[in-house]
């Protein structure tokens, strides 16, 4: 609750900042301080200190897991804003407005980590989505940005419609918006009286797939990620997606045991098609940004494993995956922002021009590809473990692995461009401080690559 309240307040404060305070730097600092406060307040709640303590009437349920995930989200956002302050300021003279939107998004994310009622899910998703539509279209003069915003908006609203239909069906069948108990009773076949219920779940499933950009509901992702200003794509692809996953898991993990093997089939279908589309199409991209968009679809395919069933690995894994993936993606986009073009050729010879930058980029890419010694490896390992622990067939794991190998194809294309192709990278000036910030992220990833448990150990104390 602290997080929701504080982030809303901070959002409002930032709104007023845009009138009161004109210097970008101050706004940036306020945002960072605000985030710090947000982190503290959330930690406070984890330790049992509440600002306002009242009964949410079954709307929200604060679990240690959810609160901890919140903390991680806030920390990642902190890193993100710290890194990208200058870039955000470039857009407009109203960076504070964007910061406000970020805080609102964080509020939405906090709701998604703690909702206990489908109504809150719906509101949370909307709070998360609406600022995103705006961020996507933030580059107002850019036709790509415009187009992306409209596409995102239309498809997002459509998926909201689907989500609502699903919720309605669930309500019709159970008479409640609560999601405490498994709503479906375990059984072999599909009992006739549960048809509508399962249809409802399936529709919710589809809508959630849209939010986390899983195939075949992923179509918005490449275009939106590509069209949106890079700095916001970075945020969209990380925190927002991770929050979506947490919500997704909250809905379905309690149900999955009851859903039976047809559920596994449906999920397998989605996982495989997501991995297929994400990985295969990414291979052919000429734009790094678009490649990353597709790769984020592919990563979503891996994260979907956590849905397969409830296990300790799924919870730990999704946290680890979310953190690692977010850090790596923020890092890669952070480098990409400094490029004048988005093409692979822009990276040619980066290793020579700026070895440190090339090195950190390599760490990010390795992490995304899941190469050992970077956090990405354990993230993937945990997800596979979760998949197997939930009783999935080895065949699914093997398919996942094959696609993981394909992913090396496109991530390494960038590595090749940086290290092995000679040329002059076409990039903006990169301040030393910025590089060191990226280096910090890279070091974090390396630490997670050797001691992944530092992320979720906190879950248990």
């Amino acid at each position: 609750m602290n997080a929701i309240i504080v982030s809303t307040l901070l959002g409002v404060i930032m709104m007023f900042c845009s009138w009161g305070i004109k210097t970008q730097k101050t706004q940036h600092t306020i945002a960072l301080v605000g985030l710090f406060v947000l982190i503290l307040s959330n930690l406070a709640q984890m330790n049992g200190w509440y600002a306002i303590d009242f009964d949410t009437k079954g709307m929200l349920a604060f679990t240690r897991f959810g609160l901890y995930v919140n903390t991680l989200f806030f920390i990642i956002t902190f890193i993100y804003i710290w890194l990208n302050g200058e870039e955000i300021a470039k857009f407009d003279n109203q960076a504070a407005d964007f910061y406000a939107l970020f805080f609102f998004i964080l509020c939405g994310a906090s709701i998604l980590t703690s909702f206990d009622n489908l109504l809150m899910l719906f509101i949370g998703i909307e709070i998360l989505s609406i600022p995103l539509y705006i961020l996507t279209g933030a580059d107002k003069k850019n036709l790509f940005s415009n187009e992306a915003a409209l596409k995102y908006f239309l498809m997002g609203s459509f998926s909201t419609g689907i989500l609502l239909l699903g919720i309605t069906f669930i309500y019709g069948a159970t008479g409640s918006f609560h999601l405490v108990e498994p709503v479906l009773r375990p059984s072999d076949g599909l009992p006739k009286e549960q048809m509508i219920l399962s249809a409802g779940l399936l529709l919710v499933f589809a809508a959630m797939n849209f939010k986390v950009s899983a195939a075949p509901f992923h179509f918005w992702t490449p275009d939106v990620y590509d069209g949106a200003p890079t700095v916001f794509t970075s945020f969209m692809a990380t925190i927002v997606k991770a929050a979506g996953f947490i919500a997704f898991i909250t809905i379905f993990n309690s149900q999955s045991k009851a859903l039976g093997y047809t559920w596994e089939l449906v999920l397998s279908f989605v996982i495989i098609s997501t991995l297929l589309v994400g990985n295969i199409v990414a291979v052919f991209q000429r734009s790094v940004k678009r490649m990353l968009a597709y790769s984020s679809i592919a990563q979503a395919g891996f994260m979907l494993f956590a849905l397969y069933g409830k296990s300790i690995y799924a919870n730990e894994g999704i946290i680890l995956y979310a953190v690692v993936y977010s850090l790596a993606t923020i890092g890669v986009f952070g480098v990409l922002i400094k490029m004048k073009e988005n093409s692979f050729e822009a990276f040619n010879g980066l290793a020579k021009a700026n070895p440190l930058l090339a090195f950190v980029t390599t760490i990010f890419l390795f992490s995304l590809a899941g190469i050992p010694l970077t956090g990405g490896f354990f993230a993937k390992y945990y997800m596979l473990n979760a998949l197997y622990a939930a009783g999935a067939g080895l065949w699914l794991i093997i398919i996942a692995i094959l696609f993981a190998a394909v992913s090396v194809f496109y991530y390494f294309k960038l590595v090749q461009a940086m290290y092995f192709v000679s040329g002059e990278p076409t990039m903006h000036e990169v301040p030393k401080k910025y590089t060191y910030a990226l280096l910090l992220i890279a070091i974090l990833l390396l630490i997670l690559g050797v001691f992944p448990s530092v992320v979720f150990n906190y879950l248990y104390f």
């Binding site: 107002k140 609203s157 419609g161 309500y171 590509d226 069209g227």
Partner: protein, 111 residues
């Protein structure tokens, strides 16, 4: 009135909305069709609400069962209003830039 009738009605409206989304090119009309879908859902929720109320009333006359669905509808409207403001803002922005709101021309981003 059997609940199935309402379900059929609402599903029909919902599907008409879906078809509209699929077949029209004007962004505003598409958006309107989405609103239609939401309204169909709203009506269905209200119908379910009254269905639940009906069954609960038989047991206790003062029940408020089903009220949550009507509140839900209220929130859907709230959200829809917010969405519309943003949606129209985006559409207007696009119109300002391209003088068109034909979604078929929105294919600069592809492949």
């Amino acid at each position: 009135m059997p609940i199935e009738y309402y379900i059929f009605l609402c599903l029909t409206l919902f599907s008409i909305g879906v078809i509209g989304v699929l077949t029209r090119r004007n962004a505003i009309i598409v958006f309107m069709c989405i609103e239609l879908m939401l309204n169909a859902v709203n009506m269905l929720l209200v119908a379910f609400s009254k269905m639940n109320y009906a069954s609960a009333q038989a047991l206790s006359p003062t029940t408020t069962a089903g009220i949550d669905a009507q509140i839900f509808v209220f929130f859907i409207m709230v959200v829809a209003a917010a969405e519309v403001s943003i949606g129209l803002a985006i559409i207007v922005m696009i119109y300002r830039n391209t003088h068109s709101i034909d979604i078929n021309f929105l294919n600069r981003l592809k492949n």
